[in-house]
Symmetry: C2
Subunit: 242 residues, 2 copies
């Protein structure tokens, strides 16, 4: 099986994911938030790219049954119930509900890959669970990192490395890594015992830390805290059903 990684959604070569398994990573914080919401019993997550779209979709759902979540430039959107902090998506808040979410980078990447064979939502929180599932499928996989503002973002890249490590530990056939996948794996292996320390000079980490979200960062980089593997299909993210 082949593993290819793209550092940003706009650098992806389209034909390369059509018949593949795709894993989307926006570890700070969109995909971590989605994993957490589903792990805490939320019914489904609907990712949308525009704020207006989120509001429109929510109008067709029972007001008690949904929550609007998301951010623009790391800040909660006016009139929304929740921001993009996974810490807000507790069982008390999300259980049994539909979350409609829109974020600056992550939801765009998820929607872009909609026509792949299968689209999984990955993070540090579920790295081994995603790795297990991919290894089991034994299909070529494209990992798409959301990046930050269209740029290479080390937080996503190290997370891709954690997932590649998970895949390789369980793979049943030889794994062929493209150049960026090799780099992700090397960076993860080099920093896995001190990930937050390795990220402290990176752009996204610093922006979030300055905005008061250090606890979010810490939460998102708990390795394998969750076994939930969210799958995006027909516009909706739900638990993987095997």
């Amino acid at each position: 099986m082949k593993i290819d990684v793209y550092a940003t959604q706009n650098s992806v070569i389209e034909k390369e994911w059509k018949d593949r398994l795709v894993v989307i990573i926006d570890v700070l914080r969109a995909t971590s938030t989605i994993i957490t919401a589903l792990d805490n019993g939320c019914k489904e997550v609907i990712p949308v790219t525009e704020i207006e779209e989120a509001v429109n979709i929510s109008r067709s759902i029972d007001p008690e049954g949904f929550l609007l979540g998301g951010e623009r430039n790391a800040v909660k959107i006016d009139g929304f119930h929740l921001s993009n902090s996974p810490l807000e998506y507790t069982r008390e808040v999300v259980e049994g509900r539909t979350v409609v979410i829109t974020t600056t980078n992550g939801t765009k990447a998820i929607k872009k890959a909609g026509d792949a064979r299968e689209v999984l939502i990955g993070g540090f929180l579920n790295a081994s669970a995603v790795g297990d599932h991919v290894a089991c499928k034994d299909m070529d996989v494209t990992i798409i990192c959301a990046g930050t503002g269209g740029k290479f973002s080390l937080d996503d890249i190290i997370t891709a490395g954690a997932i590649i490590d998970g895949i390789m530990q369980k793979a049943v056939s030889p794994v062929e890594l493209d150049d960026l996948a090799l780099v992700c794996k090397f960076l993860y292996d080099s920093h896995k015992d001190h990930v937050l320390d390795a990220l402290k000079d990176t752009y996204h980490y610093r922006v979030l830390e300055k905005a008061g979200f250090y606890e979010d960062i810490r939460f998102c980089f708990q390795k394998d805290r969750m076994a939930t593997v969210p799958v995006y299909k027909d516009g909706v993210i739900k638990h993987l059903v095997e």
Copy 2:
């Protein structure tokens, strides 16, 4: 000063280079070939994107005074004097002549950055010389790697790390690295004593090795063999004049 790195020319955010120093890297093999040609006394190099353009330009030059060089998919172009192997660009062949060159990835990246403040041609061969010049200028710099077939290519990334290392050793003001620049520097530091070994599982290395170009790879990764810093201006690459 800030250092930003892009892994492929198509991932570059345009506004980010307009008022900057730009360094173009296509270490295997376009920029290594250009550095070698100028170091061996070639008068100038004219990079063009299309084969027809190369032929047209050459018609306006004294037939004795020019050479057509380049490749498509690592293979010499029919009717051209030279391929894209730096080993062919010896002093005997290139001295005093104009080289018109077109390659799959490198020349496109060079031409794209034409409107930057200054465009330098970088490689492993001249990493410290380029680093010295950039440090001296003390301006923000954008390093654009050509990549391979639109994808992240570790050969270029490690070369960017070597140039960043050179800049940082001579910088007169604090250096701020973006995420990919941090990664380039880390990968160079981790592999600088065994670069070819670190590249042996990468895509571009394997393609060239299989095509019989191992000696080219070895040549291109000789650190600081040359002090030549080529500059691209008004469509032509010449020696830096300070």
